[in-house]
Point group: C2
Chain length 463, copies 2
Amino acid sequence: MSGRILIIDSVATNRIILKVKLLSAQYEVTAVSNQLQAQAEMDHDRPDLIIVDLADRSEDRHAFCAALRDDLQTSDIAILGTGTANTAKARLAALDVGIKDVLPHPIDDAFLLARVRSLLRIKNVNSEIWVRDTAGRALGFEDEKRTFAHAAHVHLLTASTAVVPQIIRDTADSYSPNAQILPLDRHVPLGDPLASPDLYVIDTTGVRDPQDALFRLSADLRSRTATRLATQLVIVPDGATEVAAAALDLGADDVVMASVCKAEVGHRCEMLLQQKRKLDKFHTTVKDGLKAAVTDPLTGLYNRRYADPYLKALAEKTQQAGQEFAIMMIDIDHFKAVNDTHGHATGDAILRTLAARLRKNLRGIDLIARVGGEEFLVALPQSSRDMAELTADRLRKVVNGTPFDLRSDQAPLNITVSIGVAVGGAETVDQFNTDAVCLLADGALYAAKSAGRNQVSFAASAA
Amino acid sequence: MSGRILIIDSVATNRIILKVKLLSAQYEVTAVSNQLQAQAEMDHDRPDLIIVDLADRSEDRHAFCAALRDDLQTSDIAILGTGTANTAKARLAALDVGIKDVLPHPIDDAFLLARVRSLLRIKNVNSEIWVRDTAGRALGFEDEKRTFAHAAHVHLLTASTAVVPQIIRDTADSYSPNAQILPLDRHVPLGDPLASPDLYVIDTTGVRDPQDALFRLSADLRSRTATRLATQLVIVPDGATEVAAAALDLGADDVVMASVCKAEVGHRCEMLLQQKRKLDKFHTTVKDGLKAAVTDPLTGLYNRRYADPYLKALAEKTQQAGQEFAIMMIDIDHFKAVNDTHGHATGDAILRTLAARLRKNLRGIDLIARVGGEEFLVALPQSSRDMAELTADRLRKVVNGTPFDLRSDQAPLNITVSIGVAVGGAETVDQFNTDAVCLLADGALYAAKSAGRNQVSFAASAA
């Protein structure tokens, strides 16, 4: 349950003080004095967070952190730095090697713990993406370009849009024309095409009660569809560590003091946008993955995995409503011979064309799925035997009525289908068993084939 | 960007006051005086949230709300009640028809807005589930029982575990033995098997500064892996609407005053557990769905959709490391004849058995995928020609060395495979093009078939 934290500090007193603070906040803490020990510890048990002193010059801490960030096995471990001079240069150098923030000595307890909570929270979300990567990578891979294509949209919120601080103006400029500056208390743009930002830069300097303002704002941003997934960088007045801690605890993804240099704000913005893109990509991958799982890639129709539970739900609903439904099994006649004569590419083209013709001639509420090589299943909700017969006949005719003109160097092919139909829900409760109805339709299909193909046959018990 | 809110109130003054409050919080608001108008409004544009007065007796508000909850088209619209007597009975009656909370007149502005934000936030999460339902339903359908099987785990946090309020004890009892009472400030159980709760009931009565305590607690719960997805019900001291509003804004899913009856707390707990189960199920569905999308259901091996991007990533990594890799195409000899003679069921059994034999004889880092009816692709990272030859020969022998004993009523079948191998990354940069290497392996497979089957053939250019 606890987060696992590894402290690397060559000064024993620092190690002990930090360890005690974190232990009392109920984390699992290990402290070591050098990188060799740290590596041994990490091989044994991977930490969620590393706090490393940057003061010790006997080892190259920056190279160590950069290596952790660049190794896929450790790149999701958050790193905090301590002990370095709190200069712009030192801070930028740390950010450059993937360190999330630098805490100067003496460490502010409240801010330390808020930063730890925030980094662990963000890491949890990232880990979720990571776990799914095995499957997700395969699905999202090709889309990388698409999701990275759109320019970052940045909304900058400030107390007064009349006197905008320099850092806000500079940052807005660097994301122009996709950035806009809005008043903190009226942050919802009206009818705006840029309404769904990737990043909020929230300037709390000049706000009377920054904590209270952040409190309302963060609850509001999290509650609105267009803004809830945006990342947030909060700028707090210099020295206002309490506000900074509160901002992190309220869900800000990062926080900086107002006097930091433009480069640091820029760097932090870029890190947050990168995080946002990763999240966006993950959401796309999940959506595409779910779709791919239930779709036949060749024809774009649903597959058996989708059809089976769909039929069960249909039967249940139909039974409740006291209605009938029909199931058709459709099979292409002599498909093997076509494949053998004209090749697989032609066979695939026939399947695609046929699928499109069938789908075009069904209602929106009907289901069509490809359930075998050349076999299709059609489910017609709220359909009597007569309606099913009309539909089956229409489908048969849209196939045999127009030859399949697939290649310019080849004469159009005459294709026919055999169709078996069974009606469920009409007579007995057993007929709400879709497996049974499918079997009946299968039998009818077999009868249609035996009787010479290119025809529709009805299951006997439903006749 | 704004949430859409529909107000139903027969008293014009109430409607106007409420509308102004919500408009100034930047929501889209429509107000109507009766259910008929409400229905027309909803047909036109679906709201995210409905605020309905329960005082008007000329229409049956309860039946109206129950109908909205029971209709799949509207069941995700959150409903708040106003204007009724603030009695246990009236509140329970409202909860019973799916109303989330009842706000007595005069309505507390801060609490109203916090409740609105909270409901919109929860609805956003639910909508995400809903959008994916089309695909997800098919995938998660069969699992419904599994995810609903585990008993709810409830952690109850209170200021003092020495003097536990009655309502906390009662609630703990009703979830016994899967409930435990913990101190609010030491809420992380040590090495506990029940460490991952579904629901927190957080009692803030008896806490000196409840807002501050909730602030730290909620940030902490959201940051820990085991607790971040748990739902939260916060109990606040009677009349402490400010604390209640803060609790909601901090991410609590629901909030009640301390003096409410046991039935109401029980009802709210059940609603939150239902919400949690839905979320759990969604997460499982996503995970299963992603897996299903890249897996061949018959053999359990990866499919082409997984293999293609995997190969690209492999080639890239191999190129960076200056290594070689090998790709094999494996095809079952005379599979069509086996299928025709012994039937499809036997054919499927052969595919399954063969897949298992091949997989058992490959390393963990090797990839095996079923890429066609009887065709398998194997990728061997960090493999020279010699290593690939050894592996290919081993695979061939584990197939032809032991007949396939599939059915007790049938003699074991002798099955053989032909294998084509190509090594990538050895000589030219072109060989990092996995499509090209696959084509070479395909060509080698064809050569193995032509030369009499049951043998391994290497692509010429990699020889």
